[in-house]
Symmetry: C2
Subunit: 217 residues, 2 copies
């Protein structure tokens, strides 16, 4: 790689690191491009040589974090039964997100379709591909649990959307920095995670919907 290109690359990661750091300190909404440029020691125009818009910076950070998470889950050694693996992944996910709330905020922000419409084709495609990878991981995990008899053999598709929704909800809570104002009975985030994991497991291991409804009636 040419010396010039290398410098360019270094500057880009410097900009991303600086941005994330500033976002942590001041909240990503309040950080201006001018601030970012100043803290990174470059001029404002330079930022736009690397990123087509402020939102593009958000997207890059969100995508990076999301990718890192997936890599992390995949690197987990399988331990115990498939259902225990699922529990493990869930706990890891919650811990990872709790440790990086700003990245979670960015992920949620970039999931909004109005924003995605403003991004470039490449960025949108990358996000979509990552979504698919997550879906694949989910299928693998649940399929294993079904084959092990820990989860009844019902359509994985339906389960996916339930878990997807609950996951989004947890991200929202983490991004919000907690469970809202302290009220009587508001659990700690750790206890909250425990509740959610158990709810997910119950949702997965519950009987087939059709049977479930018949029983309920």
């Amino acid at each position: 790689m040419r010396y010039q290109d290398e410098l360019f690359q270094q500057r880009e990661t410097l900009l991303l690191d600086t941005a994330l750091s500033l976002f942590r300190d001041s909240g990503w909404e309040r950080v201006t491009i001018a601030q970012l440029a100043q803290h990174a020691g470059v001029a404002k125009g330079t930022v736009y040589k690397h990123f087509s818009s402020k939102e593009s910076i958000y997207a890059r950070l969100a995508l990076g974090f999301s990718r890192d998470c997936l890599t992390h889950y995949r690197a987990l050694e399988p331990a115990g039964t498939p259902l225990q693996s699922i529990r493990r992944v869930l706990h890891e996910a919650f811990a990872l997100m709790q440790a990086h709330p700003v990245d979670v905020q960015l992920c949620l922000h970039c999931d909004r379709p109005e924003l995605q419409a403003r991004l470039g084709e490449d960025e949108r495609a990358a996000m979509e591909a990552l979504d698919r990878d997550y879906q694949v991981l989910f299928h693998e995990l649940v399929r294993a649990a079904i084959e092990a008899g820990e989860v009844p053999d019902k359509p994985i598709e339906g389960l996916f959307w339930g878990v997807d929704a609950i996951f989004q909800g947890v991200m929202e809570r983490i991004a919000a920095g907690g469970l809202g104002p302290e009220r009587h009975g508001t659990p700690s985030l750790e206890a909250y995670f425990e509740h959610v994991v158990e709810f997910i497991v119950a949702g997965l291991t519950g009987p087939d919907p059709v049977q479930g409804r018949e029983i309920a009636q």
Copy 2:
């Protein structure tokens, strides 16, 4: 009420109605205060006589919608078993939100703590009170189901947070206008709701977490 005050009130609802209408057409992010004022037939300064900031308008609309929804759920006639009532409320909720995606977007937007920090004390208190009301409704519904033996007698608190998360996730999806880009196997929103309801019911009717874990091991 004095004539002047009445006019003032009318203008306020006119402004809110106009705002919602514009948000529907152009997306709430892109609508400017100047546009709102022009469409409502008032000057820009007048808007700020009614609302302290643009975000305050968001909050008012979100709060209104959220309140209307709760009223709607409460007005539902109890029909069938408690668990069937829960299913009914869930379906009503999803239908209501699907019919008003912009309001859902605003609700999500206003749930963010950075925004709430910028709102007035009154608005924050109103939102918190409404949150409590929802929590009360949930407790009533689940308690009835437990007493009817349709849901095992486990701590409602844990169930609440699971359902809360999944609900947030569904709102996110509705706000996004769908389940993302059409992929193979992506269900319609209606089928999606069905999956989610079944997942929630499974989560509620699942065995007590502690027992569940013992079985899984």
